[in-house]
Amino acid sequence: MSEPTQRSDSFEPRIVAFFCNWCTYTAADLAGTARMTYAPNARVVRVMCSGRLDPQFILAALRNGADGVLIGGCHPGDCHYQEGNYKALRRFILLKRMLASFGIEEERVRLEWIAASEGEKVQRVINEMTDTIRRLGPLRLEPLPAEAAEGHGQKVAVHGGAV
């Protein structure tokens, strides 16, 4: 069986990275092709567009043990689906407000525009974020409202209407 990373004495943050298929995921592939070494702490979940990101996903990641969440989308104006990234941005702003009210440090959730050619940015952002969260320490959560709710299908009210 595997040994999990020692989380008590040498804290290694776990970061869930939601990357859009067209820009940021491709950039992460490019970072790989170019052998740009970076912190192993981020694990990528691919979505077609950052617009697919339901705030529930971020909450689920944090609830399940992630110490931080990174969202990567195309630069403004570059969205493969016209403006999914703007939608992601609006949801992100609302979500941050909500996280703040739970006392979650705002550095734990980060949104970055990373174009397909910006492998270096993937490297830099993941390294920065790992350092930041290592400094902040593990995320200790009070029960989130969603925890009270049943299952995954339920949604919490962070959609902010037609965003």
């Binding site: 790989g32 077609m48 567009c49 689920a60 043990g65 999914g84 949604k155």
Partner: protein, 667 residues
């Protein structure tokens, strides 16, 4: 955990296959540990490793387990899904499996290639495998939808790349729209005198192809036109092309050029774009004698009629065919095409950005493109290399790498400058007998017959000084330098700084993306590299494809290229487009959104969110309806649906939630 019975055949049986990729993965990740770990995961019935999963024997492993009924869904932990997802899906489909009961864990690009430390890399790989296994359990068998393909093609840019692609497609019987921004096709190649290394005449090999374009029944040529808007998707694009008024009716004009003769301006007065400002033209002009189409153009910026309203309109008077039409208006053409080839080319580096080289300050400092016109028999000096004072230079310095290999301008090597500098050195030496000095950093001549050409130039007594030019200036240290331009550079092979007085300096300017490349790439929804060149889908294996299906690249818009490479790439782009069109249909990824009616509350949140108007509202049922043919699968509506009624195939909430749980709590 719920919904395990989502599997069509009862309990899901997941096969996990971990690839070594030679040492690419196995060199960093302890593959055996990952396999052992996978065996412990719920629903995993088979877990094994193999050297190259993408090879035939690798694929056969999967196929055998599928056929033996050991597994019904597959996780391959190997490279990026953007690389080999189609390979494995095909393998599954080939033996009767559903290709969408498949998930890839990217443990190469995202793990072994970006990690040096074995322990943490292995852990990360396990997490990704766990996530993929959790997720694939929820995958549903899906079918790709087939959409018919429009067999017409749009080619943007009428340089040598666009011309070659257009002729190839047209010869294959496809209908081609060739759109060019300038009044004529031909691009940069039309401005050159000779081509390296064979020194054959550029016009002699290009103009026949230009005429063929003009005459080809399958090609619609729109010059002086730009693509304004693109809608749609692979196989079914809709383009709006803006045709600027030439104020001369293309159908009537026969290219007799009488109108130009008759213009009230007796002589040229305005900078001639085609001769890069080295000569003057009239407000009514043709770019050059072999312009295609050979139709006069009136430039409203300089035409007296458009500027003042007062002109005798002698051009119109003299035209027997009444082709001149001052009332011509901009036209918008709407066309439907199945594929698009971008061949928008490059621009040359603005030499005045490097102040030390004196371009714009000393009149005898030229760019290489200007010298191309000077040595051209059809150019402003009739092919004679003459200085502004009308004399031939006795000594000429050619400065390589201007705007290339320089962190402050462009980091990349422009690839063509060494060779065209050699060509210009030869032509200048041949036409003037001048001493020619080439200042280079490294001589780059990889190509058929290129090194031989370099060899020839050295034997022609052209001087080669290995050293980047420090400055071009007009201060003299010796009597011989008086009245000359002095090039100062270290002769690095000798280890001494040299000052070389010359009469003429040629700056071998590098190639840059077109100034509006960023705007254009947005219009066509493709990406650019950091330097601004259009980004190919894969640098080695898909060099003419883009990340947007149905849009292909040809020529220097993708990166600096010489003519042979442009033509080769244009041919490749045409072939790729043909292959796509001739299939007759495209298969669309079934990652579209769908509504589970019983959950839909009819809140209409989703309706305005869709950028493609794929969601409508059924008022009788009070439910949202997704048109699968219009949906592109971004999932924005799904994220916004408050009741969970909207879901996206391959990216359902439960698939994503399970993937998240997998990556964070895999143990």
């Amino acid at each position: 955990m719920s919904a395990v019975n989502a599997s069509p055949n009862g309990t899901p049986k997941v096969g996990v296959y971990v690839c070594h990729c030679g040492i690419n993965i196995a060199g960093v990740i302890d593959v055996t540990k990952v396999v052992e770990f996978a065996k412990t995961l719920p629903n995993v019935t088979v877990a094994q490793e193999y050297k190259f999963m993408c090879s035939d024997p690798g694929q056969e492993l999967i196929q055998k387990d599928l056929k033996d009924g050991k597994i019904d869904r597959v996780v391959v932990a190997s490279c990026s899904p953007l690389m080999h997802e189609p390979t494995f899906r095909r393998a599954m489909a080939a033996c009767g499996g559903n290709p969408f009961l498949f998930q890839m864990a990217n443990i190469r690009e995202h793990v072994s290639w970006v990690n040096k430390e074995k322990g943490s890399a292995t852990e990360k790989a396990k997490a990704l495998v766990a996530a993929a296994v959790r997720r694939v359990v929820f995958h549903k068998p899906l079918q790709k939808t087939q959409v018919p393909v429009n067999s017409d093609v749009l080619i943007v840019g009428g340089g040598i790349s666009g011309i070659h692609a257009a002729l190839t497609m047209a010869d294959a019987g496809r209908k081609v729209y060739l759109v060019e921004r300038e009044p004529t096709i031909g691009g940069h190649m039309a401005k050159f005198d000779k081509t390296f290394p064979t020194l054959d005449c550029s016009a002699c090999i290009l103009t026949p192809k230009m005429s063929q374009v003009r005459a080809h029944p399958n090609i619609t040529l729109w010059t002086y036109s730009e693509v304004a808007e693109i809608e749609g998707y692979v196989g079914n694009f809709k383009a709006r092309v803006r045709r600027k008024p030439k104020y001369v009716d293309e159908g009537l004009c026969v290219g007799c050029l009488e109108c130009i003769e008759a213009c009230i301006f007796k002589k040229g007065k305005f900078k001639d774009e085609f001769n890069v400002g080295l000569s003057l033209r009239k407000p009514i002009y043709v770019p050059f004698p072999q312009a295609t189409p050979l139709v006069a153009v009136i430039d409203p910026e300089t035409c007296a009629f458009f500027r003042t309203g007062k002109c005798k309109q002698t051009c119109a008077e003299v035209c027997e065919r009444k082709a001149i039409d001052f009332n011509q208006k901009e036209e918008i053409k709407e066309i439907n095409v199945g594929a698009i080839i971008l061949a928008t080319g490059f621009k040359t580096f603005d030499a005045s950005r490097i102040a030390r080289y004196g371009y714009g300050k000393y009149p005898t400092v030229y760019t290489s493109l200007e010298v191309e016109r000077l040595v051209n028999a059809a150019g402003p000096t009739g092919g004679e290399v003459l200085l502004p004072n009308g004399q031939k230079p006795k000594a000429v310095g050619i400065v390589h790498c201007v705007g290339s290999r320089d962190e402050k301008t462009n980091r990349y090597c422009s690839r063509v400058c060494c060779m065209y500098s050699l060509k210009l050195a030869h032509l200048i030496h041949e036409r003037t007998g001048a001493e020619v000095y080439n200042f280079y950093i490294d001589m780059r001549t990889p190509g058929k017959g290129y090194e031989e050409f370099y060899d020839r130039l050295m034997k022609e007594n052209v001087h080669f000084i290995r050293g980047r030019v420090a400055e071009v200036s007009d201060w003299a240290m010796t009597p011989e330098e008086e009245g000359k331009l002095v090039i100062r550079a270290e002769d690095t092979l000798v280890g001494a700084v040299r000052r070389i007085p010359v009469d003429m300096v040629v700056l071998s300017v590098g190639l840059e993306p077109q100034p509006d490349a960023d705007e254009v790439r947005r219009r066509f929804n493709i990406s650019c590299s950091t330097e601004g060149w259009f980004l190919e889908r894969h640098p080695k294996l898909a060099p003419v494809s883009t990340f947007t299906d149905g849009i292909f690249l040809a020529g220097a818009c993708q990166g600096p290229k010489d003519i042979p490479d442009c033509v080769a790439q244009a041919g490749a782009a045409a072939a790729e487009a043909l292959a796509m069109i001739d299939r007759g249909h495209v298969e669309l990824e079934p990652n579209t959104a769908f509504v589970t009616e019983e959950f839909c509350s009819g809140c209409k949140t989703c309706v305005p969110l869709c950028p493609y108007s794929a969601i409508s509202f059924d008022t009788s049922k009070n439910k949202a309806v997704v048109n699968g043919a219009l949906c592109k699968g971004c999932g924005t509506c799904v994220a916004a649906c408050p009741s969970g009624a909207l879901q996206q195939n391959l990216f359902t909430d439960e698939e994503i939630f399970n993937e998240i749980e997998g990556v964070v709590k895999y143990v």
